[in-house]
């Protein structure tokens, strides 16, 4: 039994009876003879931040445009909070807030006027809600400046503000950190995590910055040539197929290997003699046993580090090393 499992009750277990906030069901989009999105199905649930990844031309943007009603759907359907975007567009889209590509606004109007424009296209956004969203995103100072004077970072924040106005259940963001400086990216990431947790908003993020997605998302959906390649949970121990991989640096690697081989819960992977390192897999719960055994044999441990395979490595593996969009 993995210790982490008991510490982290699996969140998907609790919500599995709930209707998914976003559900793609065999969605197909053809333009001319070309199939851009091919029977794509996946789900996003409440409170999840899901990354949509794929190499150039994989169909990410097309998929997002279909979710927001900008593109028609040839086959299949997309449901948002149970409502079909094809058949009940208004009832479905009311649950969605989004930024598609760049956050575009009327440049000759102030940020506030642009938010008012968005608010007038909803049924129940009050002035109090507008004020709330403005302070949530720290837009007070730039509010009455014309949008054309905004930096991209400010526009991005205004984009999030308009998306959140009507308290959406689903936030769809196409490249949300595009054009942001590192501080801005971090701020955005923290902010998205916060609203996913506190308000239970489901967030779908498409991004080409894999490290970004890795730090922000709970799950990634990888598509290529319009098809689903794989879905992958990030940082969810129950779904991790393997135990953590550790690199242990010791003074006498050959002696250490003999000890570790005798330990039942340890899976040896390799010995790097020149670096004086052992690579093995072991569950957290069995770590004390491993350390005790090494100490009893007088093997000196200098360093233990988790060797993380980055999402990028996995991504390249899944998509066959194509260039990342």
């Amino acid at each position: 039994m993995n210790l982490e499992q008991t510490n982290h009750p699996n969140s998907s277990q609790q919500v599995s009876h709930e209707q998914p906030v976003l559900m793609l069901d065999q969605v197909t989009k053809r333009i001319g003879k070309k199939t851009i999105v091919d029977r794509l199905s996946f789900e996003v649930r409440r409170g999840e931040i899901v990354g949509l990844l794929g190499p150039n031309g994989a169909g990410k943007t097309t998929a997002i445009r279909m979710m927001t009603g900008l593109f028609t759907i040839n086959e299949g359907d997309i449901r948002i909070a149970g409502q079909s975007i094809r058949k009940q567009f208004k009832q479905a889209i009311v649950h969605v807030g989004g930024i598609i590509e760049n956050p575009e606004f009327y440049p000759y109007m102030s940020g506030f006027d642009n938010l008012k424009q968005a608010a007038r296209m909803t049924d129940n956004v009050t002035d109090a809600r507008i004020t709330e969203v403005i302070s949530l995103l720290g837009l007070q100072e730039a509010l009455h400046k014309k949008v054309k004077a905004y930096s991209l970072g400010m526009r991005q924040r205004l984009g999030i503000a308009q998306a959140l106005l009507d308290r959406p259940k689903l936030l769809i963001l196409d490249e949300p950190t595009n054009g942001l400086d590192p501080a801005g990216i971090r701020e955005m990431r923290d902010y998205l995590k916060k609203i996913a947790q506190s308000e239970g908003i489901a967030i779908l993020v498409s991004s080409h910055l894999l490290s970004e997605v890795e730090q922000m998302c709970t799950r990634v959906v990888i598509i290529q040539n319009g098809k689903l390649v794989t879905e992958h949970n990030i940082g969810d121990p129950k779904n991790a197929t393997l135990l953590p991989e550790l690199r242990i640096r010791v003074d006498r690697p050959s002696a250490a290997v003999q000890i570790l081989k005798k330990l039942e819960p340890v899976q040896m992977i390799e010995v790097k003699e020149d670096a004086s390192e052992l690579v093995c897999r072991v569950a957290d719960a069995d770590m004390p046993t491993l350390i005790d055994a090494l100490r009893e044999a007088d093997v000196v441990v200098y360093r233990i580090a988790e060797s993380k395979k980055s999402l990028e490595d996995e991504f390249l593996q899944w998509t066959g090393g194509n260039q990342i969009a």
Partner: protein, 250 residues
């Protein structure tokens, strides 16, 4: 209904918050004043004109300032859809809980409002400068003529604006819509003496022709022209709606 009012308000603000918005009304005021001054100074006999109100009636139609209003309305209308594409704000607009039909209707209603505003501005300026030039008195009959001519002028502008509106939806290009729309207004003056031509939009657009002279082409009547215009405008709107409703927005 509340939704539509809010949408129309949005569209009106988008139009009027641009700095360039006031160029057209200013131009209209200036040209109206100038034309009146020139006529007063070099043109018609002041006695012959009778009153400023009679002058106003004459000038509101498509042969007077109505023509100029039509041109300015075509220019304003052409950008109303195309600009959303050019700015990328079409996405901002379409991912709301409003149907594309509602969006399109709200835009068309703003076109109507714009033409009404321009007609009102022209009427006020004509009343003032016409009154100054030819006297402020006017008979009831002359006021009725004003209403009639204003209606004709409005219809004339509306027909060409609707045409430009459709072209704007179909091409998503402000330039093309202005070009095609303005070319349309120029065809108004050309008559082709063939029977089919009476079913074409252009000779029917100016309803005021039935007042003073005979029909432009044999077989045309006021009722006939109104019917032709209704059919054309309906066609423009249906074509625009059909394309706009289904189109993929990249």
């Amino acid at each position: 209904m509340r939704n539509m009012t809010a949408l129309v308000q949005n569209e009106w603000l988008k139009l009027t918050k641009k700095k360039s918005f006031w160029v057209s009304p200013a131009l209209l005021v200036a040209i109206t004043g100038l034309v009146t001054f020139m006529l007063y100074k070099f043109g018609t006999d002041v006695e012959e004109m009778g009153s400023g109100v009679a002058y106003m009636a004459g000038m509101l139609g498509a042969s007077g300032m109505g023509q100029f209003i039509a041109i300015l309305s075509v220019v304003a209308t052409s950008g109303i859809i195309a600009q959303e594409y050019a700015q990328g704000t079409i996405k901002f607009l379409l991912i709301r809980s409003r149907s594309r039909g509602e969006i399109l209707i709200s835009k068309y209603l703003v076109v109507l409002l714009y033409i009404l505003m321009m007609m009102a501005i022209a009427a006020v300026v004509l009343f003032i400068v016409g009154g100054m030039a030819f006297g402020f008195g006017g008979t009831g009959e002359q006021w009725i003529a004003v209403l009639k001519q204003a209606t004709y002028g409005f219809v004339y502008s509306l027909v060409y604006a609707s045409f430009a509106f459709m072209i704007g939806v179909l091409t998503r290009s402000t330039g093309v819509a202005i070009g095609v729309g303005l070319t349309g207004t120029m065809f108004g003056g050309i008559l082709i003496y063939k029977d089919f031509y009476k079913y074409v939009l252009f000779p029917n657009a100016d309803l005021s022709v039935y007042g003073n002279m005979g029909p432009p082409l044999p077989g045309m009547t006021l009722g006939f022209s109104i019917l032709v215009l209704v059919v054309y405008v309906a066609l423009f709107l249906v074509a625009g709606y059909t394309v706009f409703r289904r189109r993929d927005v990249a």
